[in-house]
C-alpha cells in the first residue's frame, strides 16, 4: 500500500526559533520575502494566557488540493504518497493557485515569474533523506508521518487561525501543549 504522508508539527516542543523557516529558505536560496515554511505566533487563548505558542506551517499537501483544481495548465500533481508537487517548468505564473489555496501557500517568485511552494523535499525523501525543516529543527518538533502506519495520538488537524480543514482536507497535524501541563507558578 502506498504511503500517506503528512507533516506532524509538535507545538508543545516548538520554541518559535524560526530555524525551520530560515534553513529552508537558505537551502532553496529563495528570493527575499519568499518562504516555503512560516512560523507564526498563535493567539494566546489557544493554551490560556499568558502561555505563548508558535505554529510552523508549510504546504499542507491536502487530500483535495485547491491549487491543483485551480491551475489552468496542470502544473500540480498529487503523488501516490500524498505529496502535492508543483512543476515550475509548466507553471505560467498566473497565480490562480495562490488565490485558491485557503492557506495562501503558493507564492509568486518575482524573479522567475513562477509560483513556488513547499515540495516536502520529495527529492530528498526519495533518496532516504529528511526534508530540510525536519532535519534542521533544533527541537525535533517537525516530523513526517505516514498516516497509514500511525494515527498520531493527541494530534489535531486544526489550530486557531488555520482554515477549515473540510475545504481541502490538509494532511498536516498538530500536537498541542498538554492542557493539564500548565506550569505550576509560585
Amino acid at each position: 500500500m502506498a504511503k500517506k504522508l503528512g507533516f506532524l508539527v509538535n507545538i508543545e516542543r516548538c520554541i518559535g526559533c524560526h530555524a525551520c523557516e530560515i534553513s529552508c529558505k537558505s537551502f532553496y536560496q529563495l528570493e527575499p520575502n519568499m518562504r516555503r515554511r512560516r512560523v507564526t505566533e498563535l493567539p494566546e487563548e489557544l493554551v490560556g494566557t499568558p502561555v505563548r505558542a508558535f505554529v510552523s506551517t508549510a504546504c499542507n499537501h491536502c487530500d483535495e488540493p485547491a491549487c491543483k483544481k485551480a491551475c489552468p495548465v496542470g502544473a500540480y500533481t498529487k503523488r501516490e504518497d500524498g505529496i502535492v508537487v508543483h512543476d515550475q517548468n509548466m507553471c505560467i505564473g498566473c497565480q490562480m493557485c495562490g488565490k485558491a489555496c485557503p492557506y495562501g501557500v503558493p507564492q509568486f517568485n518575482p524573479v522567475k515569474k513562477k509560483m513556488d511552494k513547499c515540495s516536502m523535499c520529495y527529492d530528498r525523501l526519495d533518496v532516504g533523506q529528511l526534508p530540510i525543516c525536519v532535519e534542521k529543527c533544533p527541537l525535533e518538533a517537525i516530523q513526517i508521518v505516514d498516516y497509514n502506519e500511525v494515527e498520531p495520538s493527541n494530534s489535531v488537524s486544526v489550530v486557531p487561525t488555520f482554515a477549515d480543514p473540510s475545504i481541502t482536507h490538509p494532511t498536516t497535524h498538530f500536537i498541542l501543549p498538554k492542557p493539564g501541563k500548565q506550569t505550576r507558578r509560585f
Partner: protein, 683 residues
C-alpha cells in the same frame, strides 16, 4: 535538485553566544550560496539558529562596507573613498607623530569587545602590544561579577558537557532563558524531562523557558541571593543538607551556619517576593531529588550584588552535595578549553624603553576614564569588534570624550553608529573570508574557520590590517613595531597550538580541524574529581580571598534597601532571539520578524498609571528620558518592566553602576545593568 558543483568549507559563528556553532559554507563560482550547520559538531549537531542560516544576507548585505573611507569633518556624513595605502599611511603617520609628541604610546587607545570571538581577532591587541605600553579598555560588561564569584568558590571556571543534564533529577534554570539565547540546550532539557527530571525556572520574568518548565518561581529582580538564603535556612532547619559532602569538600560550613542562623526568613521572603511553600519546594528538590543541575544565566549577576547572587547559588549547591556528581553542578561559563597560546599577543618590542603592558581604561566606565587621562591624554582611538556608541553607558559623556580624539579608526562590516562617529572606517572581512579559531565559553568543542570566498570588495581581515600597519610603521622608522608582518594566517594559527593542546584534541596538526571540530579532553562532569583550585582545595563557603578584596566572605546576604522613591521601577534588559546586541538587526528578515521596540509592563501597573496598551509612554531617570510604546504583559510583576533592548534608545538611561565583583578575573567591576531604576508616565 540543487546541483553538486559547489565547494564546501568549514566556518564557525564567532558571535558572543553559548553555542559557537560550526558551520558549512557552500560556494559556487566564488560566491557563497548557502550556509548550513556542521553535523560533526558534537554539541550543535548540524543545527543552526535562524541567524546562522541567514549569514548569506549578512555577507552580501547591500549596506556592507566595500572600501576604506574617510570622513571630514567627523560625524558630518561626508565620506570619501580612500585607498588602503592612504588609510594605512594616515594611521601610521598619526601613530608616529603622537609617539614623538608624548614620548610614549599611551595616547593610543584600543577598545575591542566580543563582536568577533575568534583567536586571530586578537590581532589588534597584538599589534598594540607590539608598539609598547598603550591605553586599553579593560573589563567586561557581560559576565565579570559571576566570573569572580565562580573563582572565589571553586578556583576555576568549568562547565559540564550538556549531556550530563540527562542524569539530573532536578533542573533549575536560574535566570536563564535558553529558548531565546541557547536553543541547542533545549533538546537536552526536553530529553531530561522525558527521563523524569523536573525543570524549575527561577526568574523575575515568566520567560518562554519558564513556560516550557514544570515549575516557575517568580522573584523580584536582583533577589536571587535573598531566595537562596531563604532556601539555605530552610535546608539547615530541616536537615536537608549533605553533611558528608560538606565535611569532605567544603570550607567554612560552620561559619556559614552561624552567619545565616540569625538572618530573618521573613525578610528574605519579603525581599524575593516569594512564599515559604516555594522555598520548601526548592529546598526539598535540592535535598531529596538529587542530582540537581543548576544553570545560572548572566542577567542575575548584572546587579550591584550580582557576584553575591552567584556565590549564594553556588553555596546552595554545595550545601546539598550537588557538585561534582553526574547530573549536578552549577553551570555558568567555562574557560578550561581555551588552551591557545595567545602567541598573537606576545610579539613585544625588544627595547625596554617601550615596555609592554597597558594603561587600563575601565571598559564599563570608558567615557569617564577616557576624559580622566591627562599624562598623556588619549588622542587616538581604535575601535574594533564592537559598536561602542550604541552599546555603552553614559553615551552623552562618551560622545563628548570622543571630541578630543585626533583620530578615531573603526573596523567594521557596516556603517554603524560608531563608524559614523569615526574619521576612518576600514572594511573587515566576515568569517567566510578569513582564517580563524573559535572556542566556546559554554561547550567544549574547538572549531576552525577557513575562507570560503575572496574578501568582499576591498575588505581585509584584522590580522591583515595589523600586518600592513606594522610593516608601514617599520618602513617609516626601523624597529618601530614588533608585530610580525611576515607570518601568514596559517603560521599564526600554528603558533596557537602546543603539543599538550594537540593531545587534548587528539590531533597531531591543526589542519585536522578542517575535517571537523574536536572536543577538548576535559571532564564530562565539572569538578568530578572534587579537587578544587581554591586556596583550601575545597569549595569555599567562607572565602578569605573575597574578604581580602573587601567583600563579604560569605556568598549569601540580604539586600540593602536601595529602592529609589523617584524611580521605583526596575527595567530589565532581556536578550531576544533574533539578534545579538546590535548585530543582525540590519537584516531584512530580522526587520520582518521584529516588531517596534516596546516596553512590557503589568496591566495592574498600567491601570494605576492610566496607560493604555499600545500607547506611547515616557520612561525616565536621572540619566535621561525616552519615549516608547507600552505593551501589557502578565509575564512581569507590578514593579518590573522589561524591554528587549533597542540599545541606541535604552542606553540613554544607563550610567555606570558598579557591580560588587569583576576586578579579580576581568580587570574591572561589572556594570549593574539590571539595576536600572526608572519611572514611567503616560504622555
Amino acid at each position: 535538485m540543487l546541483d553538486q558543483t559547489y565547494s564546501i568549507t568549514r566556518h564557525v559563528c564567532p558571535r558572543n553566544c553559548y553555542s559557537s556553532c560550526s558551520m558549512l559554507g557552500y560556494t559556487k563560482n566564488r560566491r557563497l550560496i548557502k550556509v548550513t550547520g556542521d553535523p560533526k559538531h558534537g554539541y550543535t549537531k548540524g543545527l543552526l539558529c535562524a541567524k546562522g542560516y541567514n549569514y548569506i544576507n549578512n555577507v552580501y548585505h547591500l549596506d556592507r562596507l566595500k572600501y576604506p573611507m574617510r570622513q571630514y569633518p567627523r560625524g558630518s556624513g561626508q565620506w570619501q573613498r580612500i585607498s588602503w595605502t592612504e588609510a594605512i599611511d594616515t594611521i601610521a603617520g598619526k601613530v608616529i607623530e603622537l609617539y614623538h609628541r608624548y614620548d610614549s604610546h599611551l595616547s593610543l587607545a584600543l577598545n575591542k569587545y566580543s563582536g568577533n570571538m575568534g583567536v586571530l581577532h586578537h590581532a589588534m591587541e597584538g599589534f598594540f602590544n607590539g608598539l609598547g605600553r598603550t591605553s586599553r579598555a579593560v573589563g567586561n560588561p557581560c559576565w565579570a561579577p559571576g566570573m569572580d564569584a565562580i573563582y572565589y568558590d571553586y578556583g576555576e571556571h568549568q562547565t559540564s558537557d550538556m549531556e550530563d543534564i540527562l542524569h539530573a533529577e532536578t533542573i533549575i534554570l536560574w535566570g536563564i532563558n535558553p529558548v531565546w539565547t541557547s536553543i541547542h540546550a533545549m533538546n537536552y532539557i526536553y530529553e531530561a524531562q522525558k527521563r523524569g527530571a523536573k525543570v524549575i525556572t527561577i526568574d523575575p520574568v515568566y520567560t518562554e523557558t519558564a513556560k516550557k518548565s514544570d515549575t516557575f518561581i517568580q522573584i523580584k529582580p536582583g533577589s536571587d541571593g535573598a531566595i537562596a538564603l531563604a532556601v539555605a535556612k530552610y535546608i539547615l532547619e530541616h536537615n536537608l543538607y549533605d553533611a558528608e559532602f560538606l565535611t569532605a569538600h567544603t570550607n567554612g560550613w560552620g561559619e556559614l551556619q552561624e552567619y545565616i542562623q540569625p538572618l530573618s526568613m521573613e525578610e528574605a521572603l519579603q525581599q524575593c517576593g516569594q512564599t515559604i511553600e516555594a522555598i520548601q519546594f526548592i529546598a526539598e528538590r535540592l535535598g531529596r531529588n538529587k542530582p540537581a543541575y543548576i544553570w545560572l544565566g548572566f542577567g542575575m549577576q548584572r546587579h550591584q550584588n550580582g557576584g553575591q547572587n552567584i556565590r549564594a547559588v553556588n553555596a546552595l549547591a554545595a550545601i546539598t552535595g550537588n557538585i561534582g556528581r553526574k547530573g549536578s553542578g552549577v553551570q555558568f561559563g567555562q574557560r578550561t578549553t581555551w588552551k591557545f597560546t595567545y602567541n598573537i599577543l606576545n610579539h613585544l618590542p625588544s627595547d625596554n624603553q617601550k615596555a609592554a603592558g597597558v594603561r587600563a581604561l575601565d571598559f564599563n566606565n570608558f567615557a569617564n576614564d577616557l576624559q580622566m587621562q591627562q599624562d598623556p591624554p588619549v588622542k587616538f582611538l581604535w575601535i574594533t569588534c564592537r559598536n561602542l556608541i550604541t552599546q555603552s553607558a553614559n553615551i552623552q559623556q562618551l560622545k563628548k570624550a570622543l571630541q578630543s580624539m585626533e583620530l578615531i579608526v573603526t573596523v567594521e562590516h557596516f556603517l554603524t553608529e560608531t563608524a559614523q562617529y569615526s574619521d576612518i572606517v576600514l572594511p573587515a572581512t566576515t568569517q567566510f573570508e578569513e582564517w580563524d579559531l573559535v572556542a566556546s565559553y559554554w561547550h567544549h568543542w574547538i572549531s576552525i574557520n577557513q575562507p570560503a570566498i575572496p574578501p568582499y570588495f576591498e575588505s581585509k581581515s584584522e590580522l591583515e590590517i595589523a600586518r600592513m600597519l606594522s610593516k608601514r610603521l617599520n618602513e617609516f622608522e626601523a624597529d618601530f613595531s614588533a608585530f610580525p608582518s611576515d607570518f601568514t594566517d596559517e603560521e599564526f594559527i600554528e603558533q596557537e597550538f602546543t603539543d599538550e593542546f594537540y593531545q587534548s584534541l587528539q590531533i597531531g596538526d591543526w589542519r585536522e580541524l578542517l575535517k571537523g571540530p574536536r572536543r577538548v579532553d576535559v571532564p564530562k562532569t565539572a569538578w568530578e574529581a572534587l579537587e578544587f583550585k581554591t586556596p583550601s582545595g575545597k569549595i569555599e563557603l567562607f572565602s578569605q580571598q573575597a574578604s581580602e578584596n573587601q567583600l563579604s566572605p560569605f556568598g549569601m546576604a540580604l539586600l540593602d534597601n536601595r529602592k529609589s522613591e523617584n524611580y521605583p521601577f526596575t527595567l530589565l534588559l532581556n536578550h531576544e532571539p533574533f539578534r545579538i546586541n546590535s548585530q543582525f538587526q540590519n537584516l531584512p528578515s530580522y526587520k520582518q520578524i521584529n516588531k517596534e521596540p516596546s516596553i512590557y509592563l503589568h496591566p495592574s501597573l498600567a491601570k494605576e498609571k492610566g496607560i493604555r496598551a499600545g500607547s506611547l509612554i515616557r520612561i525616565f531617570n536621572e540619566n535621561g528620558e525616552i519615549m516608547i510604546r507600552a505593551r501589557y504583559s502578565e509575564e512581569v510583576n507590578h514593579h518590573t518592566l522589561v524591554i528587549h533592548p533597542n540599545h541606541p534608545l535604552i542606553n540613554k538611561l544607563l550610567a555606570f553602576t558598579p557591580a560588587d565583583m569583576g576586578e579579580f578575573i576581568t580587570g574591572g567591576k561589572g556594570n549593574a545593568l539590571n539595576d536600572l531604576q526608572v519611572n514611567i508616565a503616560k504622555l
